[in-house]
Symmetry: C2
Subunit: 353 residues, 2 copies
């Protein structure tokens, strides 16, 4: 009998995720592959899994924007999958071989309803993995956070933290497209900083691991910060608050530096919120679902025109690598969208990746 692997959420992290599959946060389970697919369902095979900073929050039983993953369940996650078998009632809509994006979870195969999947529609020059990054949740998060919450105006200074991450790199590029005078990225290595400036057109990139990064930040923001797109929280948020311009907008997208702390740190330069009339606003991309269509069109057009560049960090070796990849995401090993290759794709597809 044919089987496939699932990664099960097994032990609550306390507070850090332990990537071991024998005595860690997750465990591996082998289950039989379904032989019959119900008429209203699809059997899909996952090729790429998305690793997202928000995942750590999904493992915490706190009031949040989404219910936590239950212990014993397959780990939640988005994937790019190919349809293997189409249920009898769905043959007019789907064909084996179609690429879909879905919250199919950390498993090699999944049986899903038609509403649970979204067909991947690629623009000229697009790749299937784009549907999970620049033309997927990551790109949309950057898009709405920047255009609706931060809305940089011509001539303004924009700072992005986690700038070499999947969302940050798109956010910074959108700021530039929208006419920001100066886009400054904060990232965790010299290579990432070089990439941001040389490949993506950031005006300045600062390695927050440099001893004098705060001084560099000050020098890079002579007219203070009008828009701060924050993916990291903690000390970086604090330093940027201290540089907030009057009437600035602080887009609170994520706080990756704090997700694994038992006692998260809030901003201490909080008084600036009053004196500079700062608006700090948290947001969740799901709230903008009605506008996804137009946003994706705009992102795709920027991508086709070369105004927007993307980058992926793909971890090969199968689904077993997902827990370690997640830990590595919090360590910031990736430049660009972090994914796990669950199943290799054909050479023809690979050529496009």
């Amino acid at each position: 009998m044919s089987t496939y692997k699932q990664i099960i959420y097994t032990t609550t992290p306390d507070p850090a995720i332990n990537p071991s599959l024998t005595n860690g946060t997750f465990s591996i389970k082998t289950v039989p592959k379904p032989t019959n697919v119900p008429a209203d369902q699809l059997l899909v095979r996952t090729h790429y899994l998305s690793l997202d900073p928000a995942m750590r929050q999904w493992l915490t039983a706190k009031r949040s924007y989404i219910a936590p993953v239950e212990l014993g369940a397959v780990m939640r996650g988005q994937g790019i999958a190919q349809i293997i078998t189409v249920g009898a009632d769905l043959t007019s809509k789907f064909t084996p071989g179609d690429w879909v994006v879905a919250y199919s979870g950390w498993q090699e195969y999944a049986v899903l309803g038609a509403k649970e999947v979204e067909k991947v529609v690629l623009p000229p020059g697009g790749r299937p993995t784009d549907a999970m990054s620049v033309l997927g949740m990551t790109g949309l998060t950057a898009y709405f956070g920047m255009t609706e919450v931060g809305f940089p105006k011509a001539g303004e200074t924009v700072v992005v933290s986690g700038a070499a991450g999947a969302t940050g790199m798109v956010a910074g590029q959108i700021a530039k497209i929208k006419g920001a005078k100066r886009v400054v990225g904060l990232a965790g290595s010299k290579d990432k900083c070089e990439f941001l400036v040389k490949e993506l057109g950031f005006d300045v990139a600062i390695n927050y691991k440099d001893a004098d990064w705060k001084k560099q930040l000050k020098e890079a923001t002579p007219e203070y910060i009008d828009v701060f797109f924050d993916n990291t929280g903690g000390e970086i948020l604090d330093a940027c608050l201290a540089r907030a311009a009057r009437d600035s907008r602080f887009v609170i997208c994520g706080a990756i530096s704090q997700y694994n702390s038992a006692k998260p740190q809030g901003p201490t330069s909080f008084m600036t919120v009053i004196s500079q009339r700062v608006t700090m606003k948290g947001f969740i991309v799901f709230d903008y679902a009605k506008k996804y269509g137009t946003a994706l069109q705009e992102l795709a057009s920027w991508l086709s025109q070369g105004k927007l560049k993307r980058k992926e960090h793909i971890v090969p070796g199968g689904i077993e690598g997902a827990p370690q990849a997640l830990v590595d995401l919090y360590k910031g090993v990736n430049t660009g969208k972090m994914m796990v290759e669950v199943a290799p794709v054909s050479e023809a597809i690979k050529a496009k990746l």
Copy 2:
């Protein structure tokens, strides 16, 4: 030769204000009373001085919304004063005996230009001191913070910290006027809490010095908090963030609990900002100057109709008491607007106070 007293800012607080006039933050100075008033100036005598939480910030040489007071200068502050002498060019506009409100500083007399004073215009039932509280900066701060930043909608839950303070008590009453379903006040004593509920119509008031105040806050906000009007910051802001409703507005008006700390504490339940899409917005009342007129009309009409109640805490004994009154303000000894009586007023005026 006739003289008068000034309170001079002498030593930077480190970090707390020392109220001693011999070796503290301020010192006293006796200066000659002007005998000639220039043609374009007014000589005024201060009767009441306003004590405001923001004053501590004015003593810190940090980037803020207003320049710090310089060492050696008369302490900045707003007062209610009566005109004694009118310069020759101003006799068509002012008459000795007129009441004015002005940033005349901590001194018994001041010589001011016409643009530096604002004549007190009282509605039916108004008192001169109202011009410095419910119909002055305090009332305006509550008004704009609540109506423009918090904007509670009918049926919503509003929480106000520092609710027995001059701004807080007006803010809570405005929330009720604007149709909030439930207005909860946080204050520092049983008496203050009773006052808020019995006199001002708050639905619930919680003494944050009670051991179980967080539990009380949770019980008082079964549908979470839609608008939080914050005057205190610190632990109270944190506890309210943990109770933030989706799409809630956190009006950051002040952070009195933090002004005297060497290392201010920011919110640690900051993750809720993202998960509940909280908007935290700092504001300064001065930004709404163009709308003061209509705001004062509305406040005056609520006051006349008895919808809005005010309360003052007047410290008698002259200007020497100002430093101690300021320290007491941070300790929360006052219910309502804290003022120092610099010079007694006539019995006829007193009857209206």
